[in-house]
């Protein structure tokens, strides 16, 4: 059956591209990754400052550095500067390589890059000046700026579809289902978030519930998974364990994920049925999550020894674990009994970092380390890789654990009827530990930036010593 063709050929598909086309493709990949890295450094530097303010609220005072303006700058720059740019850069590379076709239009890729960055810069400046569109999470940028971001998405979707249309096989490799789908779905939810006519009072609450979760699960999740379906087989030089399971996870994720958003508003005045449906489908999300992560883990079966030799593989492994643990935690959090304790506490902040950081970030890093050296022929050093990996793992572990404990204490304080200020006092030491974790995470990003520099502009290497893939590719 030709459906199974891609899994056999995915690691060997590149011969039909000319040298010029490969150079263009590499420069697009480099530019997106470099811009994303700058956003990562900026966004997480702001994050560290925010974490510090929890212990020293009078530090960095004044209008421009006040907590409530920096907080959306941190989240939006992380989402739409760093993760979006990095995933689109990877998406272009994966789409072109897995289709054995050149990019549909390098020019459109550059236009998209400029639009993404203009939106992120303008959004950051607007938020700092106090132009916040309602403090609605992940759509705080004023709507004209969100229109620029939407335009960038549409340009990207056009370019990706054009690229996939040029593929040299009848079949479309699974990665491209996720990548093309993710960009199209993101265009849809961005539009739904912008249009104003159904967003008054409680109506806007319903849209907020829909939007904030779809921004994560119908954008970052599909692009990350799509990239992993290419990068993991590439690093291991073996096909994905089950192509059919990947297809199954694709459709179940598509149908279940859009329904769970209202679980952010349990116990709110939103209609009871909307909340209950969200809980039911939060449980159903275990199907695509466990299906997808099992698929990745089974692809790695018997190769755990390789982890020790391959940082890309280690990053991807942590990313897969982050995916299954973070998403499963999300399912449990959606239960009313547990929301009673954790809702509105810092536990939620720990959860969002477990998923966005433990899953999406680690997967992006694994993908960049696996694929960027193939595009540029330059590899990062072992020291930089190990510094990045270990500081990021240890830092995010401390971060998530401390906020999970601290958030639980907050929730229990409230349930025990303690004076409110008690919950602020009791979590203080956990905020300190969160800051320690956050600083380690930030330092790991400095190491990442150094590695990106080496991969883009450093001395060229014949083969990356830490990656399993290049040697295999040479053999292919």
């Amino acid at each position: 059956m030709d459906r199974f063709l891609p899994e056999m050929s995915v690691t060997a598909r590149h011969s039909s591209q000319s040298g010029d086309e490969q150079r263009v493709q590499a420069s697009v990949f480099v530019a997106y990754t470099a811009a994303a890295t700058l956003w990562l450094l900026f966004a997480t530097a702001v994050g560290v400052l925010l974490a510090y303010k929890f212990g020293a609220p009078d530090f960095a005072p004044g209008e421009w550095l006040t907590f409530g303006r920096l907080r959306p700058i941190h989240t939006n720059a992380t989402f739409f500067g760093w993760a979006s740019l990095a995933l689109v850069g990877l998406g272009y590379y994966v789409a072109a390589r897995s289709c054995g076709a050149p990019l549909y239009s390098a020019r459109l890729a550059w236009v998209g890059l400029i639009l993404f960055n203009v939106a992120a810069v303008a959004g950051t400046v607007a938020l700092d000046l106090g132009y916040n569109a309602g403090s609605l999470e992940y759509r705080e940028w004023p709507w004209p700026i969100r229109l620029i971001f939407l335009a960038a998405l549409v340009v990207t979707a056009w370019n990706l579809i054009g690229t996939v249309a040029r593929r040299d096989t009848e079949d479309i490799y699974l990665s491209n289902w996720y990548i093309v789908g993710g960009v199209l779905w993101a265009s849809i939810f961005s539009l739904v978030g912008i249009l104003p006519w159904y967003q008054y009072g409680l109506g806007q609450v319903a849209v907020s519930g829909y939007f904030m979760h779809n921004a994560v699960g119908m954008w970052f999740t599909p692009l990350t998974l799509g990239m992993l379906y290419y990068a993991l087989p590439k690093v291991l030089s073996r096909p994905i364990y089950s192509y059919a399971l990947g297809v199954f996870a694709f459709w179940t994720n598509l149908v279940f994920y859009p329904i769970i958003g209202s679980h952010h508003f349990l116990f709110s005045p939103l209609p009871w049925w909307l909340q209950t449906i969200a809980i039911v489908f939060s449980v159903a999300m275990l199907v695509p999550v466990w299906g997808g992560s099992t698929n990745f883990l089974l692809t790695m079966r018997g190769r755990l020894r390789d982890l020790a030799h391959s940082y890309p593989l280690m990053f991807i492994f942590v990313g897969v674990i982050g995916y299954v643990v973070g998403s499963t935690q999300g399912t449990f959090e959606a239960f009313r009994s547990l929301q009673e304790v954790w809702h509105l506490t810092n536990f939620t902040v720990g959860h969002s970092h477990l998923t966005m950081y433990g899953f999406v970030n680690f997967a992006i890093w694994g993908g960049v380390y696996a694929l960027l050296p193939l595009a540029t022929g330059r590899a990062p050093g072992h020291l930089g890789l190990s510094l990045h990996f270990w500081m990021a793992v240890v830092g995010s572990f401390i971060y998530v654990i401390s906020l999970s404990i601290g958030g639980t204490i907050q929730g229990l304080d409230w349930m025990h009827g303690a004076p409110f200020i008690q919950s602020v006092v009791d979590i203080q030491s956990y905020w300190v530990w969160r800051g320690v974790g956050g600083v380690l995470m930030f330092l790991s990003h400095v190491a990442f930036a150094w590695n990106v520099w080496r991969m883009c502009f450093g001395p060229s290497a014949q083969a990356a010593p830490s990656a399993v893939a290049p040697a295999e590719e040479a053999a292919a």
């Binding site: 093309v180 005045p269 909307l274 009673e340 009827g417 409110f420």
Partner: protein, 339 residues
């Protein structure tokens, strides 16, 4: 090409359908929710204040939704759909690092307190980690006609001149003081709209750190307490309901909130006036020859006789005070007298 259309187009159609059903249609339907009884639109100044609230991200730490859960009772009755008819953008929030503000105008009705707290929250709540919004105030040599300078405690006041709020602060406080739940018609008249921490929510923990170890706090039981009165509980209730203004050391803030330490009414044998103040609240009170403009909220409908006796007896025995303790029965008598 056909495969691409099927996968990209098919999945996008499915997704657009779900976006319609889970986002747009509930949005259309719920946008039509009529306002509940007594829910009013904001005045222009209050609406400006809401813009200040949004611009500075207040809702990243403060919710405006009361859940139908026991731990949320201190913030008011459970929020109803009609409460949000005029709330666009919606400000329900997702984190409660600071307290819920649904009923903040009932809890902290004093403009003076609000200004001091906004200028620097630690001036009235030492453990607070809220940012200081002193940049919404101006320091001037003399307050302009018709403006009252903010009576900041010495440690927070500028070396020279007086502090007056600028327009943003005035609008923001006008907005905050509009935040109170209208009583629902079918709600029990008792307690609706007047949240307070009562001992039914088992307020037995005291604040560790600053407030709990304030100098001059008595060892519980230094004065003989009547039967059924619990000074430890009284201290916790005082922390939750009274300390924001009167402070953990009972000394209040000079010029803003009266001291309870050595306070005549608190030490008087006849507790009528003190009980009356706690039950019914105060307006324009004169204490020790000083008139305080800040209103004190009434606690009569939110707290039981026993809880009020606990608080009053804590005040009467703490910080060197030596008032005669009162019993819950005495509180009940005062309550009956005032009716």
């Amino acid at each position: 090409m056909n495969k691409l259309v099927a996968i990209a187009g098919g999945s996008s159609l499915v997704y657009a359908g779900l976006a319609l059903v889970m986002g747009v249609l509930p949005g259309i339907e719920l946008s039509r929710t009529p306002p509940g009884p007594g829910v009013e639109p904001l005045t222009p100044l209050q609406a400006e204040g809401r813009d200040v609230y949004v611009a500075n991200g207040c809702s990243y730490c403060h919710t405006q939704q009361v859940r139908p859960l026991p731990q949320d009772k201190i913030f008011g009755r459970p929020s109803a759909p009609g409460d949000f008819a005029y709330q666009t953008p919606e400000l329900l929030g997702s984190e409660r690092t600071g307290p819920d503000l649904t009923n903040v105008a009932v809890r902290e009705p004093s403009t003076v307190w609000q200004y001091i707290h906004l200028y620097n929250p630690r001036a009235v709540v030492p453990e607070s980690i809220m940012p200081a919004f002193d940049w919404m105030f101006r320091v001037v040599d003399q307050a302009p006609e018709g403006t009252t300078p903010v009576p900041l405690p010495k440690a927070y006041a500028p070396a020279r001149g007086v502090v007056v709020p600028d327009h943003r602060a005035e609008a923001l406080i006008a907005y905050l003081l509009s935040l109170k739940q209208p009583t629902l018609p079918d709600a029990e008249g008792n307690g609706a709209g007047t949240p307070a921490i009562s001992s039914t929510s088992s307020a037995t923990a005291s604040v560790a750190g600053g407030a709990g170890t304030a100098p001059g706090a008595p060892a519980a039981g230094s004065a003989p307490a009547p039967d059924g009165v619990d000074l430890a509980k009284g201290k916790a209730l005082f922390t939750a309901n009274c300390a924001a203004c009167h402070q953990a050391n009972g000394e209040g803030l000079p010029g803003a909130f009266p001291s309870l330490r050595g306070n005549d009414e608190v030490n008087e044998a006849d507790p009528s006036e003190q009980l009356h103040a706690v039950l019914k609240g105060l307006q324009g009170a004169r204490v020790g020859g000083v008139v305080y403009s800040s209103p004190m909220p009434p606690f009569g409908s939110a707290l039981s006789d026993a809880d009020i006796a606990n608080i009053v007896d804590y005040e009467r025995s703490a910080w060197g005070n030596h008032g005669v303790p009162v019993t819950p029965a005495r509180v009940a008598a005062e309550r009956a007298k005032d009716k």
